[in-house]
C-alpha cells in the first residue's frame, strides 16, 4: 500500500492533466455533435455521449490499473502482449464483425472491440523491448529486418481487415527506429514519397521530372564527386522519376474506388460536393464558419443539424472548430503538440532504454493520429478514417490510447523508483 500511494507522488501530473483535459473536451464535443433536444441529458446512456461517459470511466479504471501494475511487467511481457494481440488481429479477420467496410471488430455484447487499436500499443511495447536489448543495433541489417518485421506484421494483418487508415498508423513507428539509429533518409523518404505522389497528380509529370533533374544536377555540383555518390544520385533520380510516372497506375489500379476519389478530391480533380467531396467541404464549412470565437457551445448549425457525417468520431475536430472557433481549435492543437513534446522530453530522461523507446513509440503513434485526423478535417490530406486521440467517440480507441499513454507514465514514474 505504501508503495502504491508513493507512486502518485512520482507520476507526471502534467501528462495526466493534458490527458484529462483532452478526454473531457472530447466528451463535451461529442455531446455537442450528437445533441438532440429530445435527449438533452449529457448522462443519457442511450446516446453516444452517455456511452462515451461510460467509456471514460472505464478508461480511468484502466489507467489506474496500469499505474498500480509493476512497471517491469510490461517490459517482461511485451512479446507476450504483442503475440496476444497479433493472435486476436488474425482471429478478427475470420470471426469479426464488419463495421463501415472494415472487418476489424469483435462484438462483445452491445459493444464492438477493435483489436487494431490495442495492437498499436502492443507493437510499441514489442519494438521497444527488441530495441532495448543491448546486443541489438539497428544499423545492423539483420536487426533492422527483425525490427521492421515487428512493425510490418500487424500492419499487414490490419491492412487485410480493409482498415487502411489504422494500418498506415504503424508506419509512424519508423520514428522510433530513427531515434534508435536508423538513417534519417528512411523517415525522410516516407514523408517525401506521398508528397511526391500528390505533386505528380497536381503538376504535369514532365515538369516535375524536369524539377527532379535540376535538383539532381545541383546535388551533383555540391557533393564530393566520387563514383559512389554520383551513382546514388543517379539512382535516386531514376527511382523518383519512375515513381512519378507510376503514381497514376497506382492510384487507378491498386487503390479502391473510394480511396481514389478521396485522393482526387484532395488534389482538386474531383469537386463533386455532393459525392466524394461532401465530407471535406462540409467539414471546412463547419470549421471556417466558427471564425475567431466560435458560435458557442451547442450553437453550431453545421454540427446541430448534422451536415458533417461521422462528426462524433473522425470529424470531431469540426465541432470544436465551429463552436469554439480559432481560439478553441488552436488551443487544442497547441495542447497536442505540447503533449507530444513533453512525452519526447520525458522519454529522453528515461534511464531504461525500453522506457525511452516506448516513449518515442507513444509520441509517434499519437502524433500520427493527430496529424492525419486534423489534416483531413482541414482538407490538407485525403480522407483517412482514424480517430483523434482521447477526443473522438469510441471505446476501443479511448482505452487503447489510455493504455498506451499510461504505460509510459508508469514507466516514467518508475524512473524515480530506481534512484
Amino acid at each position: 500500500m505504501r508503495e502504491n500511494r508513493g507512486i502518485f507522488y512520482r507520476i507526471d501530473w502534467v501528462l495526466v492533466g493534458i490527458y484529462l483535459a483532452l478526454v473531457i473536451a472530447g466528451w463535451l464535443n461529442i455531446y455537442a455533435a450528437v445533441y438532440d433536444e429530445s435527449h438533452h441529458h449529457i448522462f443519457d446512456l442511450s446516446q453516444k455521449y452517455g456511452k462515451q461517459m461510460i467509456f471514460i470511466l472505464a478508461a480511468f479504471l484502466l489507467a489506474l490499473g496500469t499505474l498500480i501494475i509493476d512497471p517491469k511487467f510490461f517490459s517482461q511481457f511485451s512479446y507476450f502482449i504483442y503475440g496476444f494481440f497479433l493472435f486476436f488481429l488474425i482471429l478478427v479477420i475470420f470471426s469479426g464483425r464488419e463495421i463501415s467496410g472494415s472487418k476489424g471488430w469483435f462484438a462483445i455484447g452491445g459493444f464492438g472491440i477493435q483489436p487494431a487499436e490495442f495492437a498499436k500499443m502492443a507493437t510499441c511495447l514489442a519494438l521497444a523491448k527488441y530495441l532495448s536489448a543491448l546486443d541489438v543495433d539497428i544499423r545492423k541489417f539483420s536487426n533492422l529486418v527483425i525490427a521492421s518485421l515487428i512493425i510490418l506484421a500487424p500492419t499487414l494483418i490490419v491492412f487485410l481487415q480493409h482498415d487502411t487508415g489504422s494500418a498506415i498508423v504503424f508506419f509512424a513507428l519508423v520514428l522510433v527506429l530513427y531515434r534508435a539509429g536508423l538513417s534519417g533518409y528512411v523517415p525522410l523518404t516516407i514523408i517525401i514519397l506521398p508528397a511526391l505522389a500528390i505533386l505528380s497528380l497536381l503538376v504535369p509529370k514532365l515538369l516535375l521530372t524536369g524539377c527532379l533533374l535540376v535538383m539532381a544536377l545541383i546535388a551533383l555540383f555540391f557533393i564530393k564527386r566520387r563514383l559512389k555518390n554520383i551513382l546514388i544520385i543517379i539512382l535516386v533520380f531514376l527511382a523518383s522519376t519512375g515513381f512519378v510516372f507510376s503514381v497514376d497506375y497506382g492510384v487507378n489500379h491498386i487503390l479502391e474506388k473510394h480511396q481514389r476519389d478521396r485522393i482526387y478530391v484532395l488534389v482538386g480533380q474531383e469537386i463533386d460536393l455532393k459525392g466524394a467531396g461532401y465530407n471535406v467541404n462540409q467539414s471546412l464549412i463547419a470549421i471556417g464558419s466558427g471564425r475567431f470565437f466560435g458560435k458557442g457551445f451547442l450553437q453550431g448549425t453545421q454540427t446541430k443539424y448534422n451536415f458533417v457525417p461521422e462528426q462524433s468520431t473522425d470529424f470531431i475536430f469540426c465541432t470544436i472548430g465551429e463552436e469554439q472557433g480559432f481560439l478553441g481549435s488552436s488551443l487544442l492543437v497547441i495542447l497536442y503538440v505540447f503533449l507530444f513534446i513533453r512525452i519526447i522530453l520525458s522519454a529522453e530522461k528515461q534511464r531504461s532504454r525500453f522506457a525511452r523507446f516506448y516513449g518515442y513509440g507513444v509520441a509517434s503513434v499519437l502524433f500520427f493520429h493527430f496529424a492525419i485526423n486534423i489534416g483531413m478535417t482541414l482538407g490538407l490530406l485525403p480522407v483517412i478514417g482514424i480517430p483523434l486521440p482521447f477526443v473522438s467517440y469510441g471505446g476501443s480507441s479511448l482505452w487503447a490510447f489510455t493504455l498506451l499513454l499510461f504505460i509510459f507514465i508508469r514507466q516514467d514514474s518508475y524512473r524515480h523508483e530506481l534512484i
Partner: protein, 621 residues
C-alpha cells in the same frame, strides 16, 4: 554515439512543432481570412421564405369589385424526398406524361436535391381540391399557396392589364423583384404596380441536413411581415364598359367616355378585345402567344390609346374655336358653298348639297367643308402674322393646348402622342417658304398629316363641354381608402381659347343632333351635343367617328366613338355614342331596335358574324 542520437529528439520535436504550426496557419486562413465558409454554413441551414402580400384590389366607380385575388397552388418538389413515386398516378393528376415528369424532376434535382422547386405552377382551386386528397401518397411533393388575379366581369382587358412573373432582365434591373415574383405587365396593373404590389415579407427558418424544418431563426427576430397591396378605386363604370364592349362586337374601333367635370374616365373600350381571365396563371403564356399571333383582329392592341386617326370633320370644332380666338371668325361670319372648295390645279374639296350661305353654327350643324376650308385659310392668311409659317406656328400652339400632338399623360401605359405636324415638317416636305394655306388646307377638315387618338378625341368633347378647360383623363380616382389622387390629375389644364367662343360651337353641336348630320343620336329629354367625323384613310373604307357630350346644360359625360372602316360618322359611331350616353345617364336603354342593330352589325371585313366569338372559344379551350 548515444549522445549524437539523443540530439535527434530536436529534429523530431521540430517536426511535431512544424506540423502543429502548419495547422495553426491553416486554421487562421480557414476561420479568419476566408469569408465563404460562414456564407456556406448559413446557406446550409437558413431558408429565406418570401411572404407574398395580397395584391391590391380594383373597384369600379360604384364600388363593384373588378379585379381580385384567388388562391392558387404551386406544386413543389424536394427531389431527395421523392420515394419511387407512382409516376403514372401523379402524371394523370396534373396532366403530364412520364417523360415530362422525369424531365421536371431532373431539372429540380439539378437545382438542388434538398430544396423545394416548383414542379407545376398555379394549379387552380378546383384542381387543387382533387390533388390534395391524393398528395399524401407522394412524399417529397407539397403545395405552396400563391394567388391568381381574377376579373369579375371579363371586361376592360386592355385597361386593367395583367400580371406575370418578373423576368430575368427585370430582376437584374430592379432589386425589389426576385424570381417567382409577380409584376404588372400592362394596363393599371403596370401603371400602379408599386401601389398594388404591397410589401413582401421574409421569414427565416432553419432546416437540418434532411431538410426538416427546425423552427424559425433566432425566434423570428429577423423576420418581416408582408404588407398587403393598396386597393384602387377606379372611375370606370363597369356596366357602361360592358355595354360598350357589347356594342362594339364585331367592329374594329374604340369608345372612350370621360366625366368632363373631373377628367375621370368612365369607360375605355377597344375592340376587338379578349377576356382578361385568359391571361392568368399557367394558361397565360399559351393564350398570350395565340392572341399575339392573331394578326387579323390584333386583340392585344389597345386602339383607344395606341391608334391615331385623322379626326375628320370633328376637327371643324377646333377650327371654329381657333378662328374666333384669332379674330378671323365671328358667329356671324357667312360663307357660301358652291358644292366644294377649289384648291387650285382644278382640284376641289368636295362638299355635299346643303343650304348656302351658312353662319358658323350652321357650318358645324351641316359640316360644310367649304366653310371650314375658308376658316382655316383665313387663320393661315391672318395679317397679324408676318407670313403663313408664323400663323401656322401660332395655330399649332393653340392646337397643342387642346391636348393634341402629345400624350395626355393618362394613367394607363403606352398612350400614343398623335400628331400635329410642325412647320419644320412642311419646310422639309415642300421647301422653306414654299407652302401656303392652300398647300395644307386638308388640315382644316381634319385630314392629312394630322393624327389624334380616341382618348384625345374624347378629351376634345370634354373641354368643349367645360368651355375651355380639362383635367388630364385618368382611370383611378382614389388610391386606398383616402382620396389620395395623383396631383397631376387635379390640376386644371386651360385651353388657349376664351370661354365665350364656345357657346356658338356648342349651339352648332346641339343642332348636329337635333337637325344636322347626326339626327340618329337624339335621346328623349336629353340634349346631346355632338359632331360627326368621317375620316378618309388609305387602308380602306372611311372611319366613322363621333364625339359628343351630354346633357348640354350640365355635361356629365363626354364621349368619342371610332368605328374603323364603317363609313359615315352618322351611320355607326353616332348611334353607338348615343346609346352609351343613354345607358350612362338613364342607366337603361329604351331604344331596343337601335341597340340590337348596333350590336349585331358586323363591320369586320370578310368575316361572318360570330367569328370573333369563335375565336374566343378557341382561346378558352
Amino acid at each position: 554515439m548515444e549522445r549524437v542520437l539523443a540530439n535527434r529528439k530536436y529534429i523530431i520535436i521540430g517536426f511535431f512543432a512544424l506540423i502543429g504550426f502548419f495547422f495553426l496557419v491553416r486554421l487562421f486562413y480557414v476561420q479568419i481570412l476566408v469569408d465563404k465558409y460562414i456564407l456556406s454554413a448559413n446557406n446550409n441551414v437558413l431558408r429565406y421564405m418570401t411572404q407574398y402580400p395580397a395584391r391590391g384590389l380594383i373597384f369600379d366607380r360604384f364600388g363593384k369589385l373588378l379585379v381580385y385575388n384567388e388562391a392558387a397552388y404551386d406544386l413543389m418538389v424536394i427531389p431527395r424526398q421523392v420515394k419511387k413515386p407512382d409516376t403514372a398516378a401523379l402524371c394523370e393528376l396534373i396532366g403530364i406524361d412520364k417523360q415530362e415528369f422525369i424531365r421536371r424532376l431532373e431539372k429540380a434535382r439539378n437545382y438542388s436535391p434538398y430544396r423545394p422547386s416548383i414542379f407545376e405552377a398555379q394549379i387552380t382551386r378546383e384542381n387543387y381540391g382533387y390533388l390534395e386528397e391524393k398528395l399524401f401518397r407522394f412524399p417529397g411533393f407539397f403545395v405552396q399557396l400563391r394567388t391568381l388575379r381574377k376579373y369579375t366581369y371579363s371586361v376592360a382587358a386592355h385597361t386593367l392589364g395583367y400580371i406575370g412573373e418578373a423576368g430575368p432582365d427585370l430582376i437584374a434591373k430592379n432589386s425589389y423583384y426576385k424570381s417567382g415574383d409577380y409584376i404588372g405587365i400592362s394596363g393599371i396593373e403596370k401603371s400602379y404596380e408599386e401601389v398594388l404590389r404591397g410589401k413582401k415579407g421574409m421569414k427565416i427558418r432553419v432546416f437540418d441536413v434532411l431538410n426538416r424544418d427546425k423552427g424559425s431563426f433566432r425566434e423570428g427576430k429577423y423576420d418581416t411581415t408582408s404588407v398587403a397591396g393598396i386597393d384602387l378605386f377606379s372611375s370606370m363604370d363597369a356596366d357602361l364598359q360592358l355595354y360598350g364592349e357589347q356594342l362594339m362586337t364585331n367592329k374594329k374601333g374604340s369608345i372612350v367616355a370621360i366625366e368632363p367635370s373631373t377628367g375621370e374616365i368612365l369607360c375605355i373600350v377597344s375592340s376587338p378585345s379578349y377576356d382578361p381571365n385568359l391571361l392568368v396563371g399557367n394558361i397565360r403564356k399559351k393564350n398570350y402567344t395565340l392572341l399575339l399571333q392573331d394578326t387579323v383582329f390584333n386583340p392585344l392592341f389597345n386602339r383607344a390609346l395606341m391608334a391615331s386617326y385623322p379626326p375628320g370633320s370633328t376637327f371643324k370644332l377646333v377650327d371654329a374655336l381657333i378662328g374666333q380666338q384669332e379674330g378671323v371668325l365671328t358667329p356671324e361670319t357667312r360663307y357660301s358653298c358652291p358644292g366644294g372648295f377649289p384648291i387650285g390645279n382644278g382640284k376641289v374639296v368636295a362638299c355635299h348639297a346643303h343650304p348656302s350661305p351658312l353662319d358658323l353654327a350652321g357650318g358645324i350643324q351641316i359640316s360644310c367643308n367649304t366653310y371650314f376650308c375658308r376658316v382655316f385659310k383665313s387663320i393661315m392668311d391672318n395679317k397679324s402674322y408676318v407670313n403663313t409659317r408664323a400663323a401656322f406656328e401660332h395655330w399649332r400652339k393653340l392646337a397643342l393646348s387642346f391636348g393634341f400632338g402629345k400624350k395626355l399623360g393618362i394613367d394607363i401605359p403606352n398612350e400614343l402622342n398623335g400628331n400635329i405636324p410642325t412647320a419644320a415638317y412642311y419646310d422639309k416636305y415642300h421647301g422653306k417658304n414654299r407652302w401656303r394655306a392652300m398647300t395644307i388646307i386638308s388640315l382644316g377638315i381634319g385630314q392629312g398629316e394630322i393624327g389624334i387618338t380616341p382618348v384625345q378625341l374624347a378629351n376634345l368633347a370634354c373641354l368643349i363641354a367645360n368651355k375651355g378647360w380639362f383635367y388630364t383623363p385618368h382611370i383611378i380616382r382614389a388610391i386606398g381608402r383616402k382620396d389620395s389622387l395623383n396631383q397631376a390629375f387635379m390640376t386644371k389644364k386651360i385651353v388657349s381659347v376664351d370661354a365665350s367662343y364656345f357657346d356658338v360651337v356648342i349651339e352648332g353641336m346641339a343642332n348636329v343632333v337635333t337637325a344636322g348630320t347626326a339626327r340618329g343620336a337624339q335621346i328623349d329629354s336629353i340634349t346631346v351635343c355632338g359632331k360627326t367625323g368621317t375620316a378618309q384613310n388609305p387602308h380602306g373604307k372611311n372611319h366613322s367617328i363621333f364625339i359628343a357630350f351630354a346633357p348640354r346644360e350640365n355635361p356629365r359625360i363626354a364621349i368619342s366613338v371610332v368605328c374603323e372602316n364603317a363609313g359615315f360618322g352618322a351611320t355607326w359611331a353616332a348611334p353607338i355614342a348615343s346609346l352609351m350616353i343613354e345607358k350612362y345617364l338613364k342607366r337603361k336603354v329604351t331604344r331596343k331596335d337601335l341597340e340590337e342593330r348596333m350590336i349585331n352589325g358586323n363591320l369586320i371585313n370578310g368575316k361572318v358574324p360570330g367569328n370573333e366569338r369563335e375565336q374566343r372559344d378557341i382561346l378558352q379551350d
